[in-house]
């Protein structure tokens, strides 16, 4: 490793913890309530630290860092797992207001990083077990709707995962006399199975928090509005760590070591998870099953693991599409291998894909979530949170150019080429659609328009009269009652409106028109009917000086509206 890579590695481990020393935003303001936040203002220091950590890990991945430095070691898979854990942490910290939860998430992130990188001099079991156990201990949330013992079940899963990893190291020491994972394929079947089982248990633990939070209707019991928009919990950072352990150990087994039974069991578990609408877990288990399968499936396993991490970070069903390159790579691996185990894995992948697609289509079509018993289709339920945006960008990169993810070892040149052209074609189609709307041609017309201005249009094609009440070229709308308060001018809006009921509305080129308030234009006469400035009406029509109209006919004086005092 170079000096810059070592610095990036240290930064990726330290920054999330240092970010906790930033100002506590709950103390801002006199009342201690930071008030409603929007946009980037919702970003907190720990979240920024997680994003910086993800960037440092990404630099290690892109630069192909591999080797030892300052008592730490890193491989491309480890660096990618660290980046994924940081992305999950950044998404999980969204909406977390409790200081304890923020500290737990950031320290757990650092613990996962230490577990994956420390232990160079034969202390790898201590590092792995210590880091993962610390993360499990910190991220365990006993608050479940079923009581104390049910609340301890996830903790048992996490502890079981850590124990399985320790058992793997013990078996490794028994067989080979060493405490670190070898660089060559010499692991026995039992050792590989122990690591894979540990990774699977940690994956279940990491995604179980999301499942319980959905059932409970909140994120980490912190007041986030209930519903399917709940994304992740802090325990999810363990998903990347567990997958990294499994994906690092499983391919290291000796050629004679047969772990086909474990692969089949994991594939069936993935099917069950997909059937219970837990997409991220099913992808993670499928990745582990593929890793336990033939070596030709290893690239597909890594791509599926990346998709699982992104899925748990974003927490929306449409992000399951990120598994597409992994499925394609698995298909290529099945063709290369041709064995029964590879074929069984491919069949399981296809079945999982169909199940997840069914769930995703149902969700996007507005079905009912069986866990929250509420409508699943809502803008908040489909839109990613701000903290999940880095993961969304990573997912888009994965879908469009998976071949550039060289750490996965996949050969997806043809896939990249086709997806690049498909995306280019899709963007061209979108541009053409919008231009058609601008020019009033075809189906794209009227897609982008102002809200609430559709029914009062002038003659078809009359651009000046469109949406401008009081215009002489169009039929005048019903006069609105005069408003004494001058309405505030609305800003330019870009709003997708429903398809128009009137054919003439479809010809409206209203992409960037400035919305004009109706009340103001109706209170004033149109420009053409007003007398020019400086002219006075003839004498006979003017009322004599000193006379005032009777009281009942005078319009009321406009009152200034003052904002209420704070």
């Amino acid at each position: 490793m170079t000096g810059a890579q070592a610095a990036a590695l240290i930064a990726s481990l330290v920054v999330p913890v240092v970010a906790l020393l930033g100002p506590d935003d709950r103390r801002t303001g006199s009342s201690g309530d930071p008030g409603p936040r929007r946009g980037l203002a919702t970003f907190r220091w720990p979240q920024a630290g997680a994003v910086v950590s993800a960037g440092a890990w990404l630099a290690l991945v892109v630069s192909g860092a591999s080797g030892h430095a300052v008592g730490l070691h890193v491989t491309p898979v480890v660096a990618a797992a660290g980046c994924g854990a940081a992305l999950i942490a950044a998404a999980s910290l969204e909406g977390m207001t409790k200081r304890r939860s923020q500290v737990a998430t950031c320290v757990a992130l650092a613990g996962v990083g230490v577990a994956l990188t420390a232990g160079v001099g034969g202390a790898q079991p201590v590092a792995v077990a210590g880091g993962l156990a610390l993360a499990v201990f910190l991220t365990h949330d006993p608050a479940t709707p079923r009581g104390r013992w049910a609340g301890l079940a996830p903790a048992f899963l996490g502890a079981g995962g850590v124990a399985a990893c320790i058992a793997g190291f013990v078996l490794l020491h028994d067989r080979s006399g060493r405490w670190t994972l070898p660089a060559t394929s010499t692991l026995s079947a039992e050792t590989a199975v122990a690591f894979v089982v540990g990774a699977a248990l940690l994956s279940v633990y990491a995604t179980l928090g999301d499942h319980l939070a959905r059932r409970r209707g909140g994120n980490d019991s912190e007041g986030v509005p209930p519903g399917p928009q709940v994304a992740t919990r802090s325990a999810a950072v363990l998903l990347a760590g567990g997958l990294a352990v499994g994906l690092s150990a499983a391919p290291l087994r000796a050629p004679s070591a047969d772990v086909g039974v474990a692969a089949v069991v994991l594939a069936l578990a993935a099917l069950a998870a997909a059937g219970s609408r837990r997409g991220a877990l099913s992808l993670a288990l499928l990745a582990l099953a593929a890793a336990a399968g033939p070596p030709a499936l290893a690239p597909g396993a890594r791509l599926l693991a990346a998709a699982a991490v992104i899925a748990v970070a974003v927490g929306r069903p449409w992000v399951w599409l990120a598994a597409l390159p992994g499925a394609v790579s698995l298909g290529m691996g099945v063709v290369d291998d041709g064995g029964r185990l590879a074929l069984a894995t491919a069949v399981a992948t296809a079945a999982v894909a169909v199940l997840l697609a069914e769930v995703a289509v149902d969700t996007l079509a507005g079905g009912e979530d069986p866990q929250t018993a509420g409508p699943t289709r809502s803008p908040a339920g489909l839109r990613p949170t701000l903290g999940a945006m880095p993961a969304v960008i990573g997912g888009a990169w994965l879908v469009v150019a998976a071949g550039t993810w060289t750490w996965t070892g996949s050969a997806l040149g043809a896939y990249d080429q086709g997806m690049g052209r498909a995306v280019a074609g899709g963007l061209l189609a979108v541009v053409a659609y919008v231009l058609a709307g601008q020019l009033g041609l075809g189906a794209g017309a009227g897609v982008f328009s102002r809200p609430g201005a559709g029914s009062t249009t002038g003659p078809p094609g009359s651009r000046r009269s469109i949406g401008a009440p009081g215009s002489p070229s169009g039929p005048s709308p019903a006069p609105a009652p005069p408003s004494p308060v001058r309405p505030r001018r609305r800003p330019t809006q870009l709003v997708r409106s429903k398809r128009s009921a009137s054919p003439s509305r479809r010809r409206r080129p209203a992409l960037f028109q400035r919305a004009r308030p109706r009340a103001r234009s109706s209170a004033r006469p149109p420009e053409e009917t007003r007398p020019p400035k400086g002219t006075r009406p003839p004498k006979g029509t003017r009322p004599p000086k000193g006379t005032r109209p009777p009281k009942g006919t005078r319009p009321p004086k406009p009152r200034r509206s003052r904002p209420p005092k704070a």
Binding site: M332, V335, M419
Partner: protein
């Protein structure tokens, strides 16, 4: 775009087809068609599909009879998986219930690539004419089928055709 240019992966095209149709059955048909392509040509790459056809001839009338039948079945499955016309309940207010153009084009081009999609090689004029003609025919057939058949019938027929295509390609 992928089918027209003969680039990309057939599984990716299948998933995009399912997304365009917003139908899981269409995606499943696409995956089965991908398995049929892999079973015949040994690769899921559309470039490999075009290259193979440039060497041994168009898939629709070259090679073993079982493989030819598999290719035709796959093409029919893709055409049948094309999204149907909108039902009256979801039709637009101006009465538009026509066949969606983009999915019909996509399905037609993919079906043409499966049957007659050789890469441009030694005889470019002949190949281009063949591909353009096949694409036009396939798009027209897709439009007619999408406008004539009911959604349920077409879905069942597409699934049967796709299963036949995959089974014949893998087992033959």
């Amino acid at each position: 775009m992928m089918a027209a240019t003969g680039s990309g992966d057939v599984f990716a095209a299948a998933v995009l087809l399912g997304l365009a149709a917003a139908d899981v059955a269409a995606g499943a048909v696409g995956v089965l068609v991908g398995i049929a392509v892999v079973g015949r040509w040994g690769s899921s790459s559309l470039a490999a599909l075009s290259g193979g056809q440039a060497v041994v001839g168009a898939a629709g009338w070259s090679g073993p009879a079982a493989m030819v039948a598999s290719s035709w079945a796959a093409a029919f499955a893709v055409v049948l998986a094309c999204p149907r016309r909108r039902p009256a309940s979801t039709a637009t207010t101006d009465g538009h219930t026509g066949v969606p153009l983009a999915p019909v084009l996509a399905c037609g081009l993919l079906a043409a690539a499966l049957v007659a999609g050789p890469a441009v090689g030694a005889d470019p004029a002949h190949v281009v004419a063949l591909r353009v003609g096949a694409s036009v025919v396939a798009v027209v057939v897709a439009a007619v089928v999408a406008g004539a058949c009911s959604r349920r019938t077409a879905r069942v027929a597409a699934l049967i055709a796709a299963v036949v295509a995959a089974a014949v390609a893998v087992l033959a």
